[in-house]
């Protein structure tokens, strides 16, 4: 037996050597065809396979019947995928070349999937001007646009109106200083905390970055170099930290207590997206005021949402692009909002109906004009995790903002943009 064992180990070693010697990245950059082929004219036909996540996955199937009415030869088959499995499922499909025609892709995944070469560049039939600039930015990787922005979300300030009145301050602070004084006043007037800001852990960067953008800083400069230790970044960190050191913001918000604390007035205000309107109203609370995030050097907020991407190896490419183009039309976007409360990524859809008349939605519309997205680089998630970790040290352990910014820049440079 030991002879067989020795022979098999030797065979294994030899195969491994051969496999490894066959490895090696080709030095020449692959000649990627990034020019988009035009989409054929005429109605769509055939079966279009779509993958979508969350509520969108559940509702798109029925919603897309309107497309089939306009294009009788086309059918849209939607597969609903849960969010936590989606990233791996799409990655596996790309690796196995088993991709559908269209898939919903989270904005922060675009860089990663586009750099695999599996996504189809956007043809000219879809124009960038139709969309909010921040939203279009989420589809651009290495100066090439892939897919289109489907719906967006952005972050605004929610204030407990009663708490603001009690403190005698406006629930819509317009500058950094005003935000500081009004939240401190609300705390002095009886609120346990004037504002709640995410102190760390996953996703905290989405609350920090608006302040960086408001200060005039950014993640990367025009040359593609990371600028996470710029003076503006440090200023934003210092401003953010001041809420915690002054005790205006809590370091720890137990899971599930955010809404109840805002409603009861324990928290004077918070930063969140459009989904909280529905959540608070479900709990019977409507006495809150929305306001755009305050101005530092300029107005800014975070834009998120989801994009729709077509795969290069799609079996029904032309029909897929026609379907996506239909989804980007203003009336379709408005109808989609009615069905799911997802904010349209197309400004034209905001000009009529509930989106134009509802005052709370108007605030989101205004904020979307100045909302910024993080760059679509493949390694963004890793860099974001670094920001989350260092931010937690800044808010919890009182780490000096300059030191934190330098640490973030160093680690981010080590990770690289991935491009």
């Amino acid at each position: 037996m030991s002879k067989i064992l020795r022979v098999s180990v030797a065979a294994l070693a030899v195969t491994s050597m051969l496999a490894l010697s066959g490895c090696g990245r080709s030095d020449a950059a692959p000649e990627e065809d990034t020019s988009a082929a035009p989409v054929a004219e005429g109605k769509a036909s055939g079966d279009i396979t779509v993958w979508a996540m969350g509520t969108e996955g559940e509702k798109l199937g029925a919603f897309a019947e309107a497309f089939s009415e306009e294009n009788p030869d086309a059918t849209v088959t939607v597969t609903a995928i849960p969010w936590d499995a989606a990233h791996d499922k799409i990655a596996t499909a790309i690796a196995a070349d088993q991709t559908p025609d269209v898939s919903m892709v989270g904005t922060t995944w675009m860089g990663e999937f586009a750099s695999t070469g599996a996504l189809d560049p956007t043809p000219d039939s879809i124009s960038p001007d139709t969309f909010f600039p921040g939203a279009w930015g989420t589809t651009v990787v290495n100066d090439v646009a892939y897919g289109m922005p489907w719906y967006v979300e952005t972050r605004v300030l929610y204030t407990n109106t009663a708490a603001a009145e009690k403190a005698g301050v406006s629930p819509s602070p317009t500058t950094w200083d005003e935000l500081k004084t009004s939240t401190a006043a609300m705390q002095a007037a009886g609120a346990k905390y004037g504002i709640t800001l995410q102190a760390g852990q996953q996703g905290a960067w989405q609350t920090l970055m608006p302040f960086v953008w408001q200060a005039g800083g950014d993640i990367m400069d025009a040359d593609g170099k990371l600028t996470l230790d710029s003076p503006e970044f440090v200023d934003a960190l210092a401003y953010y930290q001041s809420f915690f050191t002054d005790g205006i913001a809590p370091v720890d918000v137990p899971v599930g207590t955010l809404e109840s604390s805002l409603i009861s007035g324990e928290f004077g205000s918070m930063v969140s997206g459009p989904w909280h309107i529905g959540i608070l109203e479900e709990q019977g609370y409507a006495d809150f005021t929305l306001a755009p995030l305050p101005k530092g050097e300029k107005l800014a907020s975070f834009i998120g949402g989801s994009n729709l991407a077509v795969f290069k190896n799609a079996e029904n490419r032309d029909a897929a692009w026609k379907f996506i183009e239909w989804l980007s039309q203003a009336d379709t976007q408005a109808a989609w909002y009615e069905a799911t409360s997802d904010l349209p990524s197309v400004p034209a859809a905001w000009e009529s109906g509930t989106l134009a008349s509802d005052p709370q939605l108007k605030i989101f519309g205004t904020q979307l004009e100045t909302a910024v997205a993080p760059p679509s680089i493949p390694n963004w998630e890793q860099i974001a995790t670094v920001i989350d970790t260092e931010l937690e040290k800044v808010t919890r352990s009182g780490l000096d903002p300059q030191e934190a910014a330098t640490a973030i820049q160093q680690q981010a440079e080590a990770i690289g943009t991935g491009l």
């Binding site: 496999a19 490895c23 090696g24 990233h87 070349d97 852990q201 137990p254 390694n379």
Partner: protein, 346 residues
């Protein structure tokens, strides 16, 4: 015993030639048929093992010496061979060392604690409660088989700072309970508490089985000679239970070094200031980022740690030569094997 007359092995078609040395196994038709049948029965398992266990282990070893990332999956050979660069990068990463320290803290405190608690409960069940022992065994084993997500929901509720039952109970004694899951100093103890509670059941069942091998007559004799309970535990039960304790320690050590579920569901990742980040969790995170080469290298480092811990446990807990007391008057050999019995229960 069934009396079957086994057929004599049939006369081989070719007799081994005289003077051919030791009998060479010739492949006779019957032997060939039996081999094929044996392989046929073993084939499904071997196939599944090769495809789903052996192949991933080998391919991750190969991945750990290349710079493969998730986007290379379409063209897996288009990667560079980087030797031990991945291992060096992992060893240079301060977050890896923090994860290693957290995991080490968990194992060093958790393994002895769970073994001690399980042994005490097993002894209590063995000697004290005989009638309802089945009920207690089931009760202690339930946490092992309950879904971790359900358990986490309840434990998060218990560990709440102001209204959680644990802090309320501590308050009755005048102790101001900490913010268990939010305080970097107390989050790992909370995880240890939960992990010990969860894994007690397996060890209790194993130790109960092991305790059956401790003869009650020894205990009676010792009690008659004046030994108290502590002495009997130390000098009779533990030495006889040594193989079982070794088995329990190795099993628990291997499981605890791969701590993953508890931090993931209780503190959703790293915990406050990454105080509950374990090595497995960090590997999972790196795989999520698509850094397959780095994550595979880290997995092999974890494997190395598990092997080292197991060797250490074998060294400490396995059967040893009895100390030579006096010069052997008789000619009986004093040697006994030093290698550990493989979890044999008497």
């Amino acid at each position: 015993m069934a009396t079957t007359i086994l057929p004599k092995s049939p006369a081989p078609a070719h007799q081994p030639a005289r003077g051919a040395g030791p009998a060479v196994r010739r492949s006779t038709p019957l032997r060939r048929r039996r081999s094929i049948a044996a392989w046929g029965f073993a084939a499904p398992f071997v196939l599944l093992f090769l495809v789903f266990t052996a192949w991933p282990v080998i391919s991750s070893l190969l991945m750990s010496v290349t710079d493969i990332k998730s986007r290379d999956l379409r063209d897996p050979f288009n990667v560079n061979f980087v030797g031990i660069d991945n291992f060096a990068a992992v060893l240079r990463d301060p977050l890896f060392w923090q994860a290693a320290r957290n995991t080490g803290y968990f194992v060093i405190v958790g393994v002895p604690l769970v073994m001690f608690v399980s042994l005490m409960i097993a002894i209590a069940l063995n000697t004290g409660i005989t009638r309802l022992s089945g009920f207690f065994r089931v009760g202690y084993f339930m946490p092992v088989v309950t879904s971790i997500v359900a358990v986490a929901v309840v434990w998060r509720f218990l560990l709440k700072d102001d209204t959680g039952i644990i802090n309320v109970a501590l308050g009755w004694f005048g102790i101001d309970g900490p913010n268990w899951l939010g305080d970097p100093n107390w989050s790992m103890p909370a995880i240890i508490l939960m992990a010990v509670w969860r894994s007690m059941g397996t060890l209790i069942v194993i130790f109960l089985a092991g305790l059956q091998g401790v003869p009650a007559s020894l205990h009676e004799a010792a009690a008659l000679d004046g030994a108290n309970a502590m002495q009997r535990l130390r000098l009779i039960t533990v030495p006889i239970m040594r193989p079982t304790l070794l088995f329990g320690a190795v099993l628990t050590g291997i499981g605890y070094l791969q701590l993953f579920e508890e931090p993931l569901v209780m503190t959703n990742g790293g915990g406050p200031l990454n105080s509950t980040m374990s090595v497995s969790l960090y590997i999972y995170r790196q795989f999520g980022f698509g850094n397959y080469g780095i994550a595979s290298a880290m997995s092999y480092l974890l494997f190395l740690a598990i092997v080292l811990l197991t060797l250490l446990q074998f060294r400490l807990l396995s059967e040893r030569d009895p100390r030579p007391r006096k010069k052997a008057r008789t000619a009986s050999p004093a040697a006994s094997p030093t290698t550990a019995p493989e979890g044999s229960t008497r």
